[in-house]
Every structure is written in structure tokens, then in C-alpha cells.
Symmetry: C2
Subunit: 382 residues, 2 copies
Amino acid sequence: MVRTAQEATVPSVPPALGDAVQRVVLPGRFEMRRGGALEQVQIAYETWGTLSSEGDNVVLIFTGLSPGPHAASSPGDPSPGWWEYMIGPGKPIDTNRYCVICVNSLGSCFGSTGPSSINPVTGAPYRLGFPELSIEDIAASARKALQQMGIERVHAVVGASLGGMSTLAYAMMFPQALERMVIISAAVRASTFAIADRSLQREIIRSDPEWRGGDYDPDRPPLNGLRLARKLGLMSYRSAVEWQHRFGRERIDARATPGPFDMEFQIESYLEANARKFMSVFDANSYLYLSRAMDWFDAADHGETLPDAMARIRATEALVIGVTSDFLFPVAQQRELAQLLSDSGCTTTFAELESVQGHDAFLVDEARFAPQVSRFFAPGPG
Amino acid sequence: MVRTAQEATVPSVPPALGDAVQRVVLPGRFEMRRGGALEQVQIAYETWGTLSSEGDNVVLIFTGLSPGPHAASSPGDPSPGWWEYMIGPGKPIDTNRYCVICVNSLGSCFGSTGPSSINPVTGAPYRLGFPELSIEDIAASARKALQQMGIERVHAVVGASLGGMSTLAYAMMFPQALERMVIISAAVRASTFAIADRSLQREIIRSDPEWRGGDYDPDRPPLNGLRLARKLGLMSYRSAVEWQHRFGRERIDARATPGPFDMEFQIESYLEANARKFMSVFDANSYLYLSRAMDWFDAADHGETLPDAMARIRATEALVIGVTSDFLFPVAQQRELAQLLSDSGCTTTFAELESVQGHDAFLVDEARFAPQVSRFFAPGPG
């Protein structure tokens, strides 16, 4: 049952931006929900499939905190994407039928405007001068990006984790702009535990002396803080049961000149390998902004009450998926979301999956996730 | 339901050593299980109640990773101890009947010899020159300390968490030295998740530049690393359900000149208050040594197989307690331990408690824990 750390590492961290990435610049000033504004916002995205002549077959994908827009391979970038099993010809989100667009979230670091981008007004990187980022800004900037492409209404919006929150925000803010939606391992608001977990990740990054109040040298970013924060993140993304089965108490094969308190167990090596990959591609300030946005998000902000906010939604059909081993977004949160959607008049399917991979199961548990999403997107009445 | 951070902080961190602390110095050289030895080992302890003329009423208490020997108040130190509800006249561990002795673990920093102690051979603090510490060393040093006091056999050994591992080690290593035992929220070995969690805590401490490879200035210890590690520890000591009820998404009342990414939620303030208290009293190197000892412990090391190791135990009766909301030492681990003890011929009671406070429930959930322990220690047949 025990695999080596290399085999076991989940490829959820995107490589450098590939040739398939496209970019759109939003016209005018982009006002942020919590104050401040951005000029010349750029949104990076990738597409798969072909837009129908009626323009009615778009599926918009919002990502979680860490992935880039490379959700699947394509002729322009044949490397496997982070949701390779889900998107493609004949796959659950079938690119023979749908035109799929995956956006890199505003505030991220894979081509969209974020804290590491150059502020066109000052000519210098935004860093912490980037305005406070909310989930709603991610949704609104994606909406404007689609409008720039001439797309006013999409067939469906799909998102997991942070992407699920972005999807929900999109549905509340632009009720007429989508027909259906899929929300995976997300919630109407973060739990107390999730807030604590992310707050600590952010504090670990900020505690790295190289962070320098957010004003780090791009050639000397706070790698150690990012590495440790990622490990803490990973601990909340998978499940204890999965790790017990995969790694148990197995030791690392070769302890090459270990220092005091160095790694000794396979689980430590697995976390280290994944965290090192992550720190080499992700911007620390982007991490801080996106992480905090998840803590802040509360669907109830969109109405007098939570049900009132949900009543704004006009999507006709929703699929909500939760995983029993997820302790970052416990399955009770998806059950609550499904009930609220159903109460608000949206025809909602709720799938509670027994995956052992926890919060990140959607990335790897094809056997359980693919049939749910396939059924939702299958041709025919419904 | 929401309390302020001050009220909500659990007083599990001991104050400075009080007047009730006693010390015993072990004769000769103390050989460590994994190699190396210590000279003039000192073990700090506190006692409550009176030793019977037959010397047969001793209850030995092993602590978790962080508490000191002040488990309960006494005339010598009237401040409340970390297990105040459990130990005292008429309490579950009734000091009208038992002579209770709580030892500070070898390697800790509350009076017992540890990495911050002066090595009598060199005249300088041990720091990372302290030999590798195992749970077995904690058990063996306590055994020798009792022998120095003239106590060869105790009525019972009691321990929770790390203390539960120490109790189990004691029972396997010195089968004739105890009659009964109580093991709470512990296991025959740590889970993969628990190893990952503690490994990351240790790495956070080691990443603090002030740690200086363990050779920090006692006046400038790695406070920030210890503070962040403690927060991570706390996240595994309590439960998500408890925090949801206690703190929800409540904000801090007054945000005094907050910096970017400063605390905003009550849960953050609760963790901060607890962690600050902890970092001011606990030694960073002690934390590293004790934490690693928990990862290493494996009861199976005491025999050809795990059941073989457990068969060494001669204690006649055991109480094993687990908590359903504990995800650091999941209740399945206590169920396994109880079954193994029972299979090895020890009359074992297993109590699965529904406390919401997670791994640390034994510190606070008097309503559920006190009756179990009372029953076990009640006078009468059994």
C-alpha cells in the first residue's frame, strides 16, 4: 500500500504557463467590492471545445486557491491539466459538446492580475497595495472577461473549493448570466476551523523574514514560509484515513546525512515534495489575498438573510457534491447549501461521496466524481 | 454562545513552578533507550494525599506534552492545577484515599532534566546535545524516581495523550510495578496524520531564525516559532464542532490599528492568546524532543508483534477512554488499545465519550470524564 513520495505526489500544482493560455484585458476601471479599484485588469484563461453558433454552450470553470487555468490538455498545451479526467472529448464535461473556459482567478499569479502584477498607474508591482480581494471580485472579473469575449450567458458554471464559492457568488451576483451550476466541496461560508487553518497559513508566510511586509525581492521570495504554509494546507486538503493507508508509519528509504529533527517518515517526504513544487510556482502575496478572500466570503452578505440572498439565484439546476472525509469543508456544509438552493427554487441534486481523499478528492477520485458530473452534463431532458 | 478570547482560553499552560514542586535526583548514570546517557537526572513532581503505611496507595500521573507537574492545587501551591477537577479530596482521584504523584516528564522544562538543563559534565546547557528522547525514557525515569522515594509498586498509573503513551510504556517495561492503569486519548502508536501534524510543528520552530540550530540565547528564544507551532497544536487538540459553537464567525470587537492581514476573527484571537501564554513558559527544544518522542513511540517495539508486546503487561485492570471528536488520536485507536489489553488478559473497560472538545476533552469535560474515573477508583470490589 505504501508508495514512494514521488509517485504519491498529487499534480495539483500547475507548471509554468503553457502556450494554451489566453488573456483578456477588461475595459476601464475595475471597482473592487471592498474598496479600491484596478486599471487594465487582465484575466488569463484556457479554452477547450468550440463555441456554438448560438453561443449557448459555454461552461465556465472557477479554480480552487492554487491551480492555474490549465485544467486539461489541449493541442496548444498537451501537458496534463489539473482536472484532466473531467474535461475533454467524451469526458464528463464533454468538449465535443461544450466550449469550456477555465479562468485564473483575479489575484492569482498565473496570468491574471494579482499582487505581483505591475500596477499600470505606478509602474511598480502592486504587492500589498493590491486592493482587498473578495470572492465576489473573482466572480465579477470573470464575468467581465466573458463579456469581453462576447459571452453574456453561460450554460453552466463549475467550481470546487474556492472555485465553488466563486460559482455561488457568480450565481447570486449575475442571476441571468448562467443556466446551471456545479458546486463541489464548498460552502455558503467558511467554518471556524477553516478560518483558523488558513489564518495560520497566512501568519506562517508573514513570519518568514523574507516576506518583508509583502515587499519581497521577486528573486528572493519567502519560500520557506510558503513551503510550510503549503504543508499545513495539504494537511487540510486530504484525509487522515487516506494517509494512514498510503504511508502508515513507513520510513524514508535513505536518510542522506540527516540533521537533527530532519525528516524520517514517508509522510514527511510526501509533504515536502509537494510543498517544494508549490513554493517554486506560487506567489506568496497571491496566496495571502486568495486565502483571506475565502475566510471573508459569506453568501448571506447578498441579502437580508441567507435564504434571502440565495433567493437571488435564477439558475434552474444545480449539482452539489460533498465528500464525507472532507474536514475543511465538511459535508454538512454542502448538504446545507443544497437545501438552500432547493428551497430557493433551483432543482438541486446533492451527491455525498465516500471518497477517502478529503477536500481534494475532486482532483483524484475520478471513479466517484466522473459519473456525477457526466450525468449532470449528459445530453437529453433535464 | 460566543465568549471572548480571554474567557475561552483553556488554562492548560502551567504558570511558573510553584512551591509545591519537589525534586528527586536519580542515582548514577541514566542510560537512554536510543543511545547516550544522562548524569544526575532530576525529576520534578508534586504530590497530594498521604502514603499509606503499606505504601500501596500511590497513583502515578504522567502528563501530556505541555503541562507541568502542577496537576492540582495543594496547601503548598493553592493555584488551580491543569487537572483540578480530577484530583483532590473527594474528587475522582480521591486524595483522601490515594497518594497522587504527578511527574514532569524527562525532557520537559518544568523542573525535570531536559535540553535547557545544565549538563553537569560540561557545565553548559544540553540543547541539542541532549540525547534522543523516547517515551520509554520518560517511563523509565519516572520509575527510578519512584524507587528513589522508596516506591516499588503503585496502585495505578494514569495518563492522557503523551502521558497515556508513557503509561503504556510503563506497563510494558515494568509489568510488576503497577496494579491498574488509566489511559486516555492515547494509542499504541501515532497515526500518520498525527506524525505529519507534529512534524510540521517542529519544522515551524526550527524555521524561526532565533532557534539558531537549537543554540538560542535563553533570553531570545524562538518565540515566534513556538507561538505558531502552538497554534497548529491547538488546532489538533480541540474540535471543529466546538469552535463553530464557541466562536462561529464572530469578529474581534476592537481592531486596534490592524496591519495588513492582521487578526479579525475571534477564533484567531483565541489561538493567539493561548499561544502567547504557552510561548512564554515552554522551552522550544523541550517541545521538539517531546513531540518527536510521540512520533517514534510504537508499543510493538516491546515484542515480536504488537499482541506479543502487550502480553508483557501484568496490570490486572485498565480503563481506556477515547473521545469521538478527537482527530489527533481518533477513538478507533483507543478501541484498538482496549481490545489489545483485553486480549492480553487485562480486565479492561473502554469508554467512548461524546465530548465535543476533541483530543483535549479530558482537561475540560468534567461532566463526562469525572464519572468514568470515579467509578474506576471507587472503593469496593473491583
